[in-house]
C-alpha cells in the first residue's frame, strides 16, 4: 500500500526534482536528483520575479473569493427554499435548475462570449465573476439534499420567536448547514482556481490573467523554451492547492460522500 502511494506520487516528485536543476543538468539526466552541489533556485526566481507568478495568484484568488461569496449567497437562499419552503411548481423549478447542469460549457461559451462582448464585460473581473455564477446549480444540488435533513423543529421554534426570512437563514440554516457549506466553499474554490476554458477566452489582458492561463503561456514556449523554468512554474502553481488540501483534508474527504448517498 505504501509502495503504491509512493508510485502514485511519482509525477509530482518528478516535477520537484527537475525544478531545482539548471538546464544542462536537466538535459543530462531527467530522473536523478539534482546534483547536491548544483541545486539552483534560479528557476523559481525567474518565475517569481520575471514571470510574476504572484500577480496571477492574486488575480485568481480575487475571482475565487468574490465568485465564491456570490455563488454561496444565491445558492443558500435557493437551497433553503427548495429544502424547506413550499410553493407551486417547486418540483419543476428544481428539476429545471438541475437540468441546466447538463448543458456543458462547450455548447454555450460561443454565445456567452459574444453576449459579454456586447455588454462590454469581456476582460473585466466583473464579467468573469458573473460567468462563475454558473456554478450555482451544482451548489444547490449539494446544499438542498443536506438542508432537507435540518430538523423542522428548529425552524418552527425560530418562526415562533418571530424570526423573519433572513433571520432564519442566519440563525438556523447556516449554523446547522455548516458542514455542507464549508464543503461547497472548498469545492467551488478549487473549481474556480483550476478553471481554464473560461479565463482563456475571457481574460486576455496580461494583468488580469489567472494562473492556469498564465501557465499555458509559459508552457507554450512564447515566454521561454527552458523546460526547467516551465517545470518550476507548474510546481509553484500547484503548491497553494496542495497546501490548502493538506490543511483541509478532513472536510474534503468527508464531503465527497455527501452528494452520493441519497
Amino acid at each position: 500500500m505504501l509502495f503504491t502511494a509512493l508510485t502514485f506520487l511519482y509525477p509530482l516528485y518528478y516535477l520537484l526534482i527537475n525544478s531545482l536543476k539548471n538546464i544542462s543538468d536537466y538535459y543530462t539526466n531527467k530522473f536523478s536528483l539534482p546534483p547536491l552541489n548544483n541545486i539552483t533556485f534560479d528557476n523559481f526566481a525567474v518565475v517569481i520575479s520575471q514571470f510574476n507568478i504572484f500577480k496571477y495568484f492574486f488575480n485568481t484568488a480575487i475571482l475565487v473569493i468574490v465568485g465564491g461569496i456570490l455563488v454561496l449567497m444565491f445558492s443558500i437562499c435557493a437551497s433553503y427554499s427548495f429544502a424547506k419552503l413550499e410553493f407551486t411548481g417547486k418540483k419543476y423549478v428544481y428539476i429545471g435548475v438541475l437540468a441546466t447542469m447538463m448543458i456543458p460549457m462547450s455548447v454555450t461559451f460561443i454565445p456567452i462570449y459574444v453576449l459579454f462582448a456586447n455588454l462590454g464585460l469581456v476582460n473585466t473581473r466583473l464579467g468573469m465573476v458573473i460567468s462563475y455564477l454558473g456554478m450555482i446549480p451544482g451548489t444547490i444540488l449539494l446544499l438542498t439534499s443536506f438542508f432537507k435533513n435540518i430538523s423542522n423543529e428548529m425552524l418552527d421554534a425560530a418562526s415562533i420567536d418571530g424570526a423573519g426570512y433572513f433571520q432564519i437563514i442566519r440563525n438556523v440554516i447556516i449554523p446547522m448547514g455548516k458542514p455542507a457549506i464549508i464543503l461547497v466553499i472548498i469545492f467551488n474554490s478549487i473549481a474556480i482556481w483550476n478553471d481554464f476554458l473560461l479565463p482563456l477566452i475571457m481574460l486576455n489582458k496580461m494583468d488580469l490573467m489567472t494562473i492556469t492561463v498564465a501557465l499555458s503561456l509559459l508552457a507554450n514556449k512564447t515566454v521561454t523554451t527552458e523546460k526547467t523554468i516551465q517545470i518550476a512554474g507548474i510546481f509553484l502553481s500547484i503548491l497553494p492547492v496542495i497546501l490548502l488540501y493538506i490543511f483541509l483534508q478532513k472536510h474534503i474527504i468527508k464531503g465527497i460522500n455527501m452528494g452520493s448517498v441519497k
Binding site: I65, V66, G120, V122, L126, G164, N204, T222, T225
Partner: protein, 454 residues
C-alpha cells in the same frame, strides 16, 4: 432582531464593495480615462481625451526576450510614452494576447459587439484581409512616406494585388526560413554546404544519405519549436510549384486541392524524407529538436532569423545556413518562405481612426525600429534600413540571412484559406509519417472549402 438585521446589511455592503472592487479592476476597453494628462505642453493641442487600445502578442510588438520583463520595461511601452508626449490628450493601452492565433477570433467577437481594441496586431495575408468587413480601410489614409519606405504592402492588400484595398498596416520584420546546419557534422560527411549547398532536392537527398552514413540524424524536427516543426517545410515547395494564383483559385473553390499537382508532389517528397530516414522518426511528438541539434545528434534544423541568436550562443561559428533546395519544375527558385508576417489592423468601430493611423505610422517609424532592434536584432521592413541597422552582429551568417530575406516569398499559410490551411496543418504530420496519403489530406482540405461556400 435589529442587530441581526444590521449585521446582514453590513454583510451585504461588504459584498457590494467586493463586487465593485472587482469591477474597478476591469479593463477600460470602452471608457476614456484621462488620468495621465496632467503634463502641460507648449504645443497647441486641440485633441480631446483620446484613449487607444492596442492588442498585440508576445513575439511581435513585444519581443520574446522582453516578455518575461515587467510591462513598463518593454521597448513598446517606452516608445508609447514618447508617442503620448508628442500627442497630448492621447493615452495608449497595451494588451498582450497569450495566443496570437486566438486573437483573430476574439477580435471578431469584438467587431461584432463593436467594442474592443482600436488597433489589433494580427497576421498578414488572408488572416487579415478576410477581416475586411471589420477593418478601417486605409486607402488614401496612409502617409506617402510609409507607402514608400515599408515593404510588405501587398500582404495586406485585398487580393494581394498592388492596387487592392489596403486593409492594414504591415509591421515588423521580414523573415527568411532556411536550413541551419552544423558545419562540423556536414564536413564529417564529406560535404561542404558553405561552398556547395544542395540546390535541388535530388542533391539534398544525396547529401542526406552521406550524412546518415556517418551515424547522425540528417535533419531534426519536432512538433513544437518554430520553425523547426514540420509546418513550413512543404509550404515553400507548394508555392514554388503551384504559384500563388493557383492557391487563390483553390481558396474560392474554383479549383480543387486534389487536382493541385504541385501540392501533391510537395507532400510526396516531404513524405519521402521521413520514409528514407532523413528526419528523426519521432518527429511527430518529440519536443526536443533544439537539444538534439545542439548536442550534435543531428546535422540540420530549420531556422528563422529569430532562432539564430540562441543557437549561435552555443554553437558559435559552427552554425551555417542555406536556402531550401528547390523541387524539380519549380516556377520560383532560389528563394524561401518568409516575408512580412505581422500586420496592424485598425477596427472600423474605433472612435479615433485618424489617431490610430498615426499610431501605426509611429510604430513603423525609423526611431521605433531603432530601439526595437536593440533588444531584438532583426531585419525590419523599412527599406531605408541597411544591414548595419538591423542590430545583428556582423557575422557572415547574419549577412547571408539578410540577403536571403530580400528574396523571400510570403508564408504560404497566410495565403491559403484558414480552414483549409488548418486542415492541412492537422493532417500533415499524418502524411509525413505515412499514415495518410497526400490525396486524402487534399480531399480533407477540399471538404473545408466546400463547407464554407454555402
Amino acid at each position: 432582531m435589529q442587530r441581526k438585521m444590521s449585521r446582514f446589511l453590513v454583510v451585504l455592503l461588504v459584498v457590494i464593495f467586493a463586487v465593485s472592487f472587482t469591477a474597478c479592476g476591469s479593463g477600460n476597453t470602452d471608457k476614456s480615462p484621462d488620468a495621465d494628462n496632467t503634463k502641460s505642453t507648449t504645443e497647441p493641442a486641440p485633441v480631446k481625451d483620446v484613449h487607444l487600445v492596442l492588442w498585440t502578442a508576445s513575439g511581435s510588438l513585444v519581443s520574446g526576450s522582453e516578455a518575461k520583463l515587467p510591462q513598463d520595461q518593454w521597448v513598446l511601452s517606452k516608445m508609447l510614452r514618447i508617442f503620448e508626449e508628442r500627442n497630448p490628450g492621447v493615452t495608449v493601452e497595451v494588451m498582450v494576447e497569450p495566443d496570437q492565433g486566438q486573437a483573430h477570433q476574439t477580435f471578431k467577437a469584438a467587431a461584432l459587439a463593436k467594442n474592443g481594441p482600436d488597433v489589433v496586431n494580427l497576421w498578414t495575408g488572408l488572416y487579415t484581409t478576410s477581416l475586411k468587413e471589420a477593418a478601417y480601410i486605409l486607402d488614401g489614409k496612409v502617409p506617402q512616406e510609409d507607402l514608400d519606405n515599408l515593404i510588405g504592402w501587398e500582404t495586406v492588400r485585398e487580393g494581394f494585388k498592388s492596387d487592392g484595398s489596403i486593409i492594414a498596416y504591415p509591421w515588423g520584420t521580414t523573415d527568411a526560413i532556411g536550413i541551419g546546419y552544423s558545419k562540423k557534422l556536414i564536413n564529417a560527411a564529406g560535404l561542404d554546404f558553405e561552398a556547395n549547398p544542395p540546390k535541388t532536392t535530388a542533391e539534398f537527398d544525396a547529401a542526406c544519405e552521406k550524412i546518415k552514413a556517418t551515424g547522425v540524424i540528417p535533419m531534426v524536427s519536432d512538433e513544437g519549436s518554430w520553425p523547426a516543426n514540420l509546418y513550413f517545410i512543404h509550404n515553400y515547395w507548394w508555392q514554388q510549384l503551384s504559384g500563388a494564383d493557383t492557391i487563390a483559385k483553390e481558396n474560392s473553390g474554383k479549383m480543387k486541392f486534389v487536382d493541385d499537382n504541385g501540392l501533391k508532389d510537395a507532400l510526396t517528397y516531404y513524405q519521402s524524407l521521413y520514409k528514407n530516414g532523413y528526419v528523426n522518426q519521432d518527429a511527430l511528438s518529440s519536443t526536443n529538436a533544439t537539444e538534439r541539434f545542439l548536442t550534435g545528434e543531428a546535422a540540420m534544423r530549420y531556422v528563422g532569423v529569430g532562432s539564430i541568436p540562441s543557437l549561435i550562443d552555443k554553437m558559435g561559428d559552427d552554425l551555417g545556413v542555406m536556402p531550401t533546395p528547390d523541387m524539380p519544375g519549380a516556377k520560383i527558385t532560389g528563394s524561401q518562405i518568409g516575408g512580412v508576417g505581422q500586420a496592424l489592423v485598425i477596427a472600423n468601430y474605433s472612435k479615433n481612426p485618424e489617431m490610430a493611423v498615426k499610431l501605426c505610422s509611429f510604430l513603423n517609424s525609423a526611431e521605433f525600429y531603432k530601439e526595437y532592434v536593440k533588444v531584438n536584432p532583426c531585419i525590419t521592413i523599412r527599406k531605408d534600413f541597411a544591414f548595419e541597422d538591423t542590430g545583428m552582429d556582423s557575422l557572415p551568417i547574419y549577412k547571408k540571412l539578410f540577403g536571403m530575406a530580400q528574396k523571400s516569398i510570403l508564408f504560404t499559410d497566410n495565403l491559403v484559406d484558414s480552414d483549409a490551411m488548418n486542415e492541412l496543418a492537422k493532417q500533415a504530420p499524418l502524411v509525413y509519417s505515412g499514415k495518410l496519403t497526400p490525396e486524402e489530406a487534399l480531399e480533407a482540405m477540399d471538404k473545408q472549402i466546400a463547407a464554407k461556400n454555402k
